[in-house]
């Protein structure tokens, strides 16, 4: 049945397939219940067994029933608006994948597709802000990956600290006021102390909670979690 459905909608209704991986399907053909297609995100040709795969579409009335299959022309005519919406959503998801593709490395494409398809991109957005080239699952990562994330986090904190100190110095210079300067020097010290304390304690923070933590005085955090 799935084979018939895909053959019927192919070229008119855009769709994804999902087994243990996620595929944005284009140019498909089916032979002996094996579907051959190119993935629109990574441009790799795949051959997958239709017995172990789910078809994913993005609007109502996009998966024809047996009755629809018997009168497929009418199915497309009657549900044209739904199919248009489906294809727009598919294209939007594809575009999102392509944007993430520019940020992360090739090894991450599979995770990107999965995250985008299930609208679960918060973590990869955080990783992008962090400057990571790998999509890493914070709840399920190796010690090496955890170490990489922590290193990038500290690097980002240092960058933000340096920027804040430059702004503070500029402010002191603009004010040209001795009393203000003395207080601003205290602010600088407080900020540096806060950042150093934070960095010393960063290894005590569980990785999955890392983005909820940021040196208080260096807020606003780039990780906009608690507005």
């Amino acid at each position: 049945m799935l084979s018939k459905i895909i053959q019927a909608i192919n070229g008119k209704i855009k769709f994804c397939l999902r087994n243990d991986r996620t595929f944005f399907v284009s140019d498909c053909s089916i032979n002996d219940n094996i579907i051959t297609f190119t993935d629109d995100v990574d441009y790799i040709e795949y051959k997958e067994d239709l017995n172990n795969i789910d078809l994913i579409t993005f609007a109502n009335k996009t998966i024809p029933t047996q009755i629809d299959l018997d009168n497929i022309k009418s199915f497309f005519e009657v549900n044209a608006e739904d199919h248009r919406k489906n294809n727009i959503t598919f294209d939007e998801l594809l575009q999102k994948c392509n944007e993430y593709k520019k940020i992360f490395n090739k090894q991450s494409i599979s995770k990107i597709k999965e995250a985008v398809l299930y609208n679960n991109t918060l973590e990869i957005d955080m990783l992008a802000k962090l400057g990571s080239k790998d999509v890493i699952s914070l709840e399920n990562c190796s010690s090496g990956e955890a170490s990489l994330i922590t290193t990038l986090y500290v690097k980002l904190i240092d960058e933000k600290l340096n920027k804040a100190l430059i702004e503070l110095n500029q402010c002191i210079s603009d004010m040209d006021d001795k009393e203000f300067e003395q207080e601003a020097i205290i602010i600088k010290k407080d900020l540096i102390d806060n950042v150093n304390d934070f960095k010393r304690s960063i290894n005590n923070i569980e990785l999955k909670d890392l983005f909820n933590n940021w040196p208080t005085l260096l807020n606003p955090s780039p990780f906009n979690i608690h507005v």
């Binding site: 920027k163 804040a164 702004e167 503070l168 500029q170 402010c171 603009d174 004010m175 006021d177 009393e179 203000f180 207080e183 601003a184 602010i187 407080d190 900020l191 806060n194 934070f198 304690s201 983005f211 909820n212 933590n213 940021w214 040196p215 208080t216 005085l217 260096l218 807020n219 606003p220 955090s221 990780f223 906009n224 979690i225 608690h226 507005v227």
Partner: protein, 196 residues
């Protein structure tokens, strides 16, 4: 001595550096923030409260019954809560006369402008969420433009709350404390805010 003046009492541990409770109680209007605590800290915080400036979810009925309130509904929620007579009518109808002010959408721009009036812009100024303490300076200036404003207990989260030092330690959020503190210093230097 201070009976014609207003004091905004911040919740920072800074407050515990001076036993100014008796002075605070001499002010014509004492403004406190959020879930402030005075019990047990009277020597430092004073007891008197005239106005509470608070985020809506930190307000309890008992306090609303006894005090005037400046109610802050986060701007990101205002599409749901409107500006927000409906919200007030629904939640606080019995105490409507005690709600001195409810923040409005236009306040967001005005609060940013209050900062920019004396400070240069900083990166991200359009997306930050100024802290309740900072916003309260705006509300008080707006509501009482002719009164002299004092402040105490403000350290812009160099510390936690004076009754709970662990509050907000290294939480990731959108409050620009550093810039607020610079603004505060400058306001002090200009004599617009007087620190007790």
């Amino acid at each position: 001595m201070y009976d014609a003046d207003i004091i905004i009492v911040g919740n920072g541990e800074e407050l515990l550096r001076k036993k100014n409770g008796y002075k605070i109680d001499m002010f014509g209007k004492v403004v406190r923030l959020g879930r402030y605590v005075t019990e047990g800290f009277e020597e430092y915080s004073g007891k008197k409260t005239d106005i509470i400036s608070t985020i809506y979810w930190k307000l309890d009925e008992e306090r609303l019954r006894k005090h005037k309130v400046i109610l802050n509904v986060p701007l990101s929620y205002q599409h749901n809560f409107l500006e927000s007579e409906d919200y007030i009518s629904r939640e606080y109808s019995d105490y409507r006369e005690n709600i001195l002010y409810l923040n409005k959408l236009e306040d967001k721009e005005n609060i940013k402008q209050m900062y920019l009036d004396i400070m240069p812009a900083f990166d991200g100024i359009d997306v930050v969420n100024f802290s309740l303490g900072f916003k309260t300076f705006y509300f008080i200036q707006k509501l009482f433009p002719n009164q002299k404003i004092y402040a105490t207990g403000f350290d812009f989260f160099k510390t936690g709350w004076y009754w709970d030092p662990t509050h907000n330690r290294n939480d990731s959020n959108m409050h620009p404390y550093l810039y607020e503190r610079l603004w505060y210093m400058k306001m002090k230097a200009k004599g617009v805010i007087n620190e007790l």
